[in-house]
Subunit: 195 residues, 2 copies
Amino acid sequence: MARKQGSHAEITGPRLRQAALRLFARHGFAAVSMRQIAAEVGVQAGALYLYTADKQALLFDLMRDHLEDLLADWSPPDAPAERQLESFVRHHIRYHLDRPDLVFIAYMELRNLDPANFAVIERLRRDYEDQLEAILKRGQAQGVFEVPDTKLATLALIAMLTGVTTWYREGGRLDRAAVEDHYWRMACKAVAAAR
Amino acid sequence: MARKQGSHAEITGPRLRQAALRLFARHGFAAVSMRQIAAEVGVQAGALYLYTADKQALLFDLMRDHLEDLLADWSPPDAPAERQLESFVRHHIRYHLDRPDLVFIAYMELRNLDPANFAVIERLRRDYEDQLEAILKRGQAQGVFEVPDTKLATLALIAMLTGVTTWYREGGRLDRAAVEDHYWRMACKAVAAAR
DNA sequence: GTCTATAATAGGATAGAC
DNA sequence: GTCTATCCTATTATAGAC
């Protein structure tokens, strides 16, 4: 039988990653089959293996690229600790609302990574957390923050901020600027020194 | 061939639920097979269907019972809003640290619920959120809290508190009392009125 | 109440045609 | 570079023996 299409290396690769992203986010890595992904891309299942070593590599590449982007996309401004925190909070919210599917996968599919891949991803996540913890330590040393345990506070703040992805919907009651403002105010108060 | 064991209805049912809980939490609902669960229970796969209608019912029952317990286990004390918030925070942390696997499943496996089951679970989750929001509204009206958007603040606080399950390990650097104290202090400050 | 056996289907991945 | 066809294994769930 004649094949349906010719060669589309440059376009099929990105489309594969996009389809995998969408389907993993909707249904979960384990629940999605290579056949489903292929159908979404518009090719046969066998053809996917021209663009990825296997299903695991598909997941790992999505997560690693996401976290590397997240890290590369922000660095602390040369400013007081409180301004650095504001910058971090606003960037975190913005970045996460822009990429709901990637964020979702990076938090939900850790269990489905091979041990070696898991170690890489955990390292990147730790690097990101360290950026926030450095701000908290600096503010604590300067007396503008009061954070008895900077590691706990870091994880608490990141969990609070990341939670925005579970409820925010475009066109809803609050726009992005308002959401950013509200989270920034709560985060700021949560770590503030008693006055 | 002779069967290995006799009748164990009273014990196999609970063991099935416990095994499913453990495996779903470790590997995810979609990644776990009925054969794996049966092996953990110590029976053959076919025998599981004496205790559950299907795999979906296993997941749904775990989540529903968990959320119903969570709701039944707490009611606001007759006290000022700040004390009610403290009670909620401490109860939430305690309850979640006591049942890490159930909490994990209830947050991670929503995607794997049938639509009808999903609606039931979402209703229960909403009921729980409403309890916290009522406290925030009350404190806001009394002027002890300053929360421009009580719904957003509710979701932000719950996300922050629930995050404890992602890092807390028994026997680690901080004990439960210290963890409770730190989260309570952050939550309290985050919603406090400016003084 | 649990067993073995099996139905019916779907899974990841590969081979070889074109 | 994509196709069809297929290997091999695993899946959920059921049937019928004991």
